[in-house]
Structures are given as C-alpha cells and as structure tokens.
C-alpha cells in the first residue's frame, strides 16, 4: 500500500466530498425507505465504501464501461445516474433506471455505459471480460481507447468465474481492470477465513496479472491506482487488479444486524469513516470551513429528499407491459399468457 497520501486539487477533493456525501445521504435514506416498506427484496448499501466508490468511478472516462455488483447504488450515482432514477428503481417504479425491472441489485444505464449491477456474486466478471473482448475486437490499443472496469467484492475472488475470466483476460490481452472492493467481509465471513490468499491483489499471480492494494478510505489514492490500471489497459491491453481496502459500516444488507462483528471491529470501521476523514482533511487544509462542509451535506440531503419525492410520485410500470422487454426480436408463437390464461388463446369450438 502506498505510504504517502496522494494529493489532488482542492476543487477535485471538494467534488469527491460532494459525491461521497450524496452516496451517504442516499444510502441512509434507502435504509429508511426499506424499513418503511417502500423498497422490497434485498437492499445492500455502500455505507462506509464511499471513498472507494467515488475514487474508482472518478478514474473512468465517459467512453469506458463499468460493470458492478449488487452493492452498487453508489457506483450508479457516481457514474451520473440521477438520484431520483436510482431511488425510483428501488421503489420499483417505471421511471427507475431499469424501468422497475431490476430493483436495487440490477441498476443499469446504457447511455452512461453503466453496464449493470448483478445479483449473482461474480456473474458480472465474465461479462465485463467479454465487453473488453468486444473493445479489443473493434479497436486498436492506445491512450484514447476504451476500457472496462469490473467491480467485484472480496467474496467473488473465490468463484470459478473470477479465475476463468482472469485467465481469458491474460491470454487475450484484454483492456479490463478488476476492481476489488475489499470490505473485509463476504456476507458475514472474514476474508482470511474464505481466501487462501487474503491479500486479494495477489490473486492474479497465476495468470501473471499484476495487482495493487490501496487505502479504500482515500478517494485520491483509489482514483490514482485505478487510473494507472486503466491506462495500462487502454495503451498496452494489460489487464490488472486494483484492490481497495475499506469497511462496510452496516450489515451485509439492510436487514442484517451484523452480530458476527466484534464491537472493536465496528469501532475501528467507524473511526475510519471516509466521509468524516475527507471532511477533516478539507477543513484542516483550509479548503472548506465547517459551515461550507455542512452545507455540502445539507445539499446532498436535499437532493435525496427530491429523489424520494420523485420516486414516490412516479407511476408503477403498467402490467400490460409485462412481456415487452423479454425479447428483442419478435418471432412466431411467443408465449404471452398471463397466469391462468389458456396457452392457446380462447378455444371453444368443439367437434
């Protein structure tokens, strides 16, 4: 891990602070809306991971493709999907960024090249690798080339698809960065209990894929590591790993009280809170005074208020659209029977 704290221009740091404050406010409200049953299903939050999320996304260019996990609200916001569209998706509304079809785990925005959250642990890893294959198929390497960032959690480094994908990326020289968000817990299992090599940035060594570990609580360090990895992907078609070490401030999902964590560990995570750390950094450097920092948080809160209002007011998808998105190409005899309907349509004529 880098020993010196990387620096960035003051306005960049303030921008990071704004984005992190928005994610924090959004996730706290998402938990609240889940408790109020506005949000169904599962709901996994980026609380505590804001610096990692913002740093990784800041390294991307608009032309790049981003694949993420089911813990991706923050990534969607940082990539530029409106807070209202994300909240509306959590509410299952037609105005959501996936039209209400995806929910918390399946956010998507084709225009922003935000290529999805994925509910199956590591399911996105082969897909992201294939997106990098498409880039390599269509275009030459170079500093202006497109690249792919594949975000995955620490737990996903133990699945077969991770290893198969890294091997493909290595032998085919694909422009992809595997960004491991190591929040130290796969659901409730500590990384060292789940991974034979708990220093996850080393897990590409079987494929000669290099990795770096960065302090995931420092958005600048994360951005710099990711930018360097993306540069190698673009110009040299060299895939690599960036491991960002961070903390999850809450349970695995909204409903998980996380009783498996020791009080000491929870305290350590709270002390490391990246939002507080960046705020202190900005105030100590004189970039912001306390009032200005509080204003940024208040503005984030207002944006989330508006997002909730938008989600509340938005319509649910019309059940008449049930079959609209399943296939792209209409062919003969596509079954569109609702439950209880005759599969052949009304058939009353007897012999």
């Amino acid at each position: 891990m880098a020993t010196t704290t990387p620096t960035a221009a003051p306005e960049t740091l303030v921008g990071f602070y704004r984005e992190m404050a928005l994610i924090r406010a959004f996730e706290l409200r998402a938990a609240e809306m889940y408790a109020k049953a506005r949000i169904g299903g599962y709901c996994h939050l980026n609380l505590g991971e804001e610096a990692t999320v913002v740093g990784l996304v800041a390294a991307l260019e608009p032309r790049d493709y981003l694949f993420t996990t089911y813990r991706e609200h923050g990534f969607a916001l940082a990539r530029g999907i409106g807070a209202g569209q994300v909240m509306a998706e959590l509410f299952g509304k037609a105005t959501g960024c996936s039209g209400g079809w995806g929910g918390s785990m399946h956010l998507f925005d084709a225009g922003l090249r935000f290529m999805g959250g994925y509910g199956i642990v590591g399911g996105q890893i082969p897909l992201a690798t294939g997106a990098a294959l498409a880039i390599a198929y269509r275009s030459e390497a170079g500093p202006a080339a497109e690249a792919v960032m594949c975000v995955l959690g620490d737990g996903a480094t133990n699945i077969g698809a991770f290893h198969e994908s890294l091997n493909l990326a290595a032998i085919w020289h694909l422009p992809v960065v595997y960004a491991i968000v190591n929040n130290r817990l796969g659901m409730g299992t500590p990384v060292q209990a789940a991974s034979g090599e708990p220093e996850l940035y080393k897990r590409g060594c079987s494929y000669r894929i290099e990795g770096v570990r960065v302090d995931g609580n420092d958005p600048v360090a994360v951005r710099e590591a990711a930018a360097a990895a993306l540069a190698a992907a673009r110009a040299e078609r060299r895939p690599s790993i960036v491991e960002a070490l961070c903390w999850r401030l809450r349970g695995h999902s909204v409903v998980d009280p996380a009783r498996y964590r020791t009080p000491e560990e929870v305290e350590e995570a709270k002390r490391a809170d990246p939002l507080l750390a960046l705020r202190s950094r900005l105030v100590e450097a004189g970039t912001l005074d306390e009032d200005a920092a509080s204003d940024i948080e208040a503005l984030a809160g207002q944006e989330v208020d508006q997002a909730v209002a938008f989600a509340e007011e938005s319509p649910f998808p019309d059940p008449k659209t049930l079959f609209d998105n399943v296939y792209a190409t209409a062919v003969a005899n596509m079954a569109q029977a609702r439950p209880g309907d005759p599969v052949l349509g009304p058939f009353t004529e007897g012999r």
């Binding site: 996936s98 995806g102 084709a110 994925y118 897909l127 493909l168 609209d324 998105n325 062919v331």
Partner: protein, 331 residues
C-alpha cells in the same frame, strides 16, 4: 438444391454469416487449429484468422460469459460448446445472465448470441456425455431454443439465430452430423418459432424434434407401407417458442398424438406437448396422448444397456399402434 450433410449445412451457414457481417465471430474449444471436435468449423480459421475464429481454453463459464458480454456491446458471437453436457458448466451465465439482462435492465441492452452445442446418446459415451438436456434451456424465458432435424433447417435456423437479437441455444445432435438432405443454395433463413408438418397423414400425429424427427419419418414410412397406418409427422424445430398451434391443428385433423423425444420422459418436451394437445384439441382426441422417450437412467456405456435405455423406432411404432387400438386404453 444440393444434397449436403447436416455438418456441411452448419459450416456453410457459419461461413456465409461471417462473410456477410464483420460483427459475427466464433468462439469455442478446439474450433480453430483443431477445426472443431466435430469439424463444423473446418477451414474457417484459415479463411478468417484468429480474430474471428477464437480458440478458447477449457473454461465454459468464462468464455460463454465473455461471449454474452461481447454481445451486450453489439457483437454477434457464435459460441460452440463442445457438447451440451458441458453447457452445464456455463448454465449460470446462460440462465442467470444471457436470458435475463435484457428484461432485468428494462430492455436497454440485448444479447445477440448463438450457442451451438450437440447433444444425444447412442455413441457409447457414457452417462455424462450422452445427455439431451435442451429442456433445461427451453424452460427458461429470455432464451430461444431451436433443434433442427434436417440439413436444410440446420442452415436456415442457424442463419436466423445469428440474425436474431436474442440469445439462441442452437441444439445439434451427434447422430445427425453425417445425415444428408437437400439444402437450398444461397442465403435464407428458417423462421424461429415455427414447426413444420414434414409428412402429412390422417390417422395419428407424431410430434418430434431433432434426431427423433428422423426416427418418426422412418416409422411413418414403415407403418404406412406395412400396416396401412397414415402417420402425420410434425417437426417442432423450435422448442422455445413452441409452435403449439401447428401441433394442435395436426391433432385436430388426425385425432391421435404420440410425442417422440430422445430425452428423459418426466417433465420433458413430451409432457409439454401432451399438455398443449389436451388443452388445444381436447374434444378431438380419440386416444390418450402418448410419450416415447428415454428410460429414466443415466445412460449406460455397455451397448446392450445403452440400446435398452434409448427410444428405438420399434418403441415409437408400438406407441403409434397403441393409440389406434381401442382395447389398449378403454376400460
């Protein structure tokens, strides 16, 4: 029209689609240098080069998933999975991803992907290499599943599958590769989702697909010649979507139906077709709908056991006769 093997028809369709569209490329184990385990891709590496004929390591989940990801960016990969048995290693990517990313993301992205893969027993390959598990995929909305029986349909459906913007499981059969048939020259497509009445008849309908269609045609000829039984044969061709109307229209005409398949009996295509027929032709039926399928055992290696487990033409003929023998099913 030229008489071609099923293998050659597949090869010709792949080559034509690659010539027609730069975004079409092939991926799979041993498809390039080795020219394909079953030689469907013979000569294509030499003609198109390694960018468009991509040999993969043995990692079905990885390369099928990568093909899905490439398709999400607009390429049109045609993946060869060496046999359908190995597709199980990639089933998470096929069922949880290829089939779902379009609807799950509100229709914002498509997966124009073809997965070609042969199934089928009878080659003494043992239990893990002899399965017909297309029904696993036919069960799943978001996928299209085709299983052509003839060289002409193999070419037409493969072209249709490549042009289609959805993921298509293209199910071949080891026993069909050397079969021959008339194949139209030049480009054409066979519509996905349409069954075909491949032989007309008036006494009983046999519904089949893939290799079982050839068995059905053989049985139909035999029974007509030897016993005067007029059998109509419906070749499903597509398993998803399933052309229920063509099946029911035939049964309304003949009043009897037998479903022939090489897969296991329970929960299979035969069960789906039988349920469809009783719903769509209930008043017309003069006999129970029968199913002829494989015995429900993992397919054994030893030839007499393998033969005993697989449906034979004599088994199908017996079932057809039974639908015509009232004493066999009335009290």
């Amino acid at each position: 029209m030229a008489e071609l093997t099923y293998r050659q028809a597949l090869h010709d369709a792949l080559r034509a689609e690659m010539l027609a569209d730069e975004s079409v490329f092939l991926m799979g184990e041993e498809i390039g240098l080795f020219e394909g385990s079953y030689k469907i891709t013979a000569g294509l590496l030499a003609e198109f080069g390694p960018r468009r004929v991509r040999d993969t390591p043995i990692s079905e989940e990885g390369f099928v998933g990568a093909a899905i990801g490439a398709a999400m960016l607009g390429l049109r990969p045609v993946v060869e999975v060496m046999t359908i048995n190995f597709s199980l290693l990639a089933i998470d990517q096929i069922v949880n991803h290829a089939a779902k990313v379009r609807s799950m993301f509100g229709g914002q992205v498509s997966v124009p992907l073809v997965i070609r893969t042969p199934g089928g027993g009878g080659q003494q390959l043992g239990a893990s290499h002899s399965q017909n598990i297309e029904v696993y995929y036919a069960h799943c909305p978001g996928l299209k599943v085709v299983a052509p029986a003839t060289p002409a349909d193999a070419k037409g459906l493969l072209s249709a599958a490549v042009h289609d913007d959805d993921p298509v499981m293209f199910v071949e059969n080891l026993a069909l590769y050397n079969t021959k048939g008339e194949v139209p020259e030049g480009p054409y497509t066979t519509e996905i989702g349409r069954a075909a009445v491949v032989k007309e008849g008036s006494d009983v309908t046999v519904v089949a697909y893939s290799r079982a269609t050839l068995a059905a045609l053989e049985v139909a000829r035999q029974l007509e010649q030897d016993e005067g039984i007029s059998v109509e044969v419906v070749d499903l061709r597509s398993l998803r979507p399933l052309d229920r109307e063509t099946v029911c229209a035939s049964v309304r005409k003949t009043t009897r139906a037998v479903v022939a398949e090489d897969d296991w009996l329970s929960y299979g295509v035969g069960a789906e077709v039988a349920a469809t027929v009783q719903e769509g032709a209930f008043d017309y039926l003069d006999a129970p709908v029968l199913r002829v399928a494989a015995a429900e055992v993992p397919l054994p290696y030893s030839k007499p056991l393998e033969t005993a487990a697989m449906p034979a033409t004599s088994d199908l003929a017996r079932a057809v006769r039974r639908t015509l023998d009232e004493s066999a099913y009335t009290k």
